[in-house]
Symmetry: C2
Subunit: 144 residues, 2 copies
DNA sequence: GACAGTATGTCAGAATACTGACATGAACCA
DNA sequence: TGGTTCATGTCAGTATTCTGACATACTGTC
């Protein structure tokens, strides 16, 4: 109870608020394509890192390995990704996009970019950079 | 595929990354008290808005009414909050903190403030304000 | 080679959160 | 009064995500 205005002045609250709004808009945009935001993020990560393992993708999407494993099985059943039959070395099983997955990702990326641009529409380039670097500093301070 | 550096330059990605890191640290801090982050947020909202309804709290914590309803029943079963037997007018049933809930919240708030301060430790006041206003502008642009 | 430490994938179980649907009560307008 | 619209609380069902645990495979060091 430091202030009377509740938690609105806390960076953490604004962070959650912004993330919730973004997630909601992303879900709205992706729903017609049959994708959730984590599923889209997974396809996006696979596009940038072909052959990534389950654990790699979990870290990229900020979910646990178990969650990503279930998500990958779902995407595999829909023919959007492919996983190797066996690990080529170690235990990590590489995953890659199918052509169907690539096509769907391309379409979904358009909606995602639309949301991103809408989100930052009222910010100047220097304000955008300040926001980006501020968020990065927060992450830096939070990871031990 | 606008850049080679993946999604790291997107504000949306940084936003998710920062929120994930914050959520993780909050959960770590609150776990010894037997609280999750949404449960803590609910107690905090109740502290600032005594007598808030289930729907009020759902909006404050950014979950659905159904999720908040389950969360409230859990907190009520633990004796941390109280709900009126009947709606005093309309359908909204006011909820309030019990003394036990208030005590637990006070303790949890210390941990929460610790995390908040750690998160922004390396930011100057002007950088903090730039971050806050940047996030607010993003929210403003995303809510229709 | 033997060992500890680390990373990975997976299983099991529980908790969480969502969408869809319905009934109830209030506010508003014709 | 009658009607529509909106907000609220709740039920049911599904989907998501987590923690905990275990076996497996690499990477060091000795």
């Amino acid at each position: 109870m430091n202030q009377d205005n509740g938690a609105y002045s806390l960076i953490g609250y604004q962070l959650k608020r912004a993330q919730a709004a973004l997630r909601s808009r992303m879900d709205d945009e992706l729903r017609p394509l049959g994708l959730t935001t984590p599923q889209y993020s997974c396809l996006e990560a696979l596009s940038h890192s072909p052959g990534a393992s389950n654990s790699d993708l979990a870290r990229a999407v900020f979910v646990t390995r178990q969650t990503m494993s279930a998500l990958l099985h779902s995407l595999e059943a829909r023919g959007l990704v492919e996983r190797a039959d066996r690990a080529p070395g170690g235990r990590a099983i590489p995953t890659s996009l199918t052509s169907e997955g690539q096509a769907l990702l391309t379409e979904a990326a358009r909606g995602s970019e639309r949301i991103e641009q809408r989100m930052v529409a009222t910010l100047t380039p220097s304000q955008m950079e300040a926001l980006r670097s501020g968020l990065a500093a927060c992450v830096e301070a939070l990871v031990e």
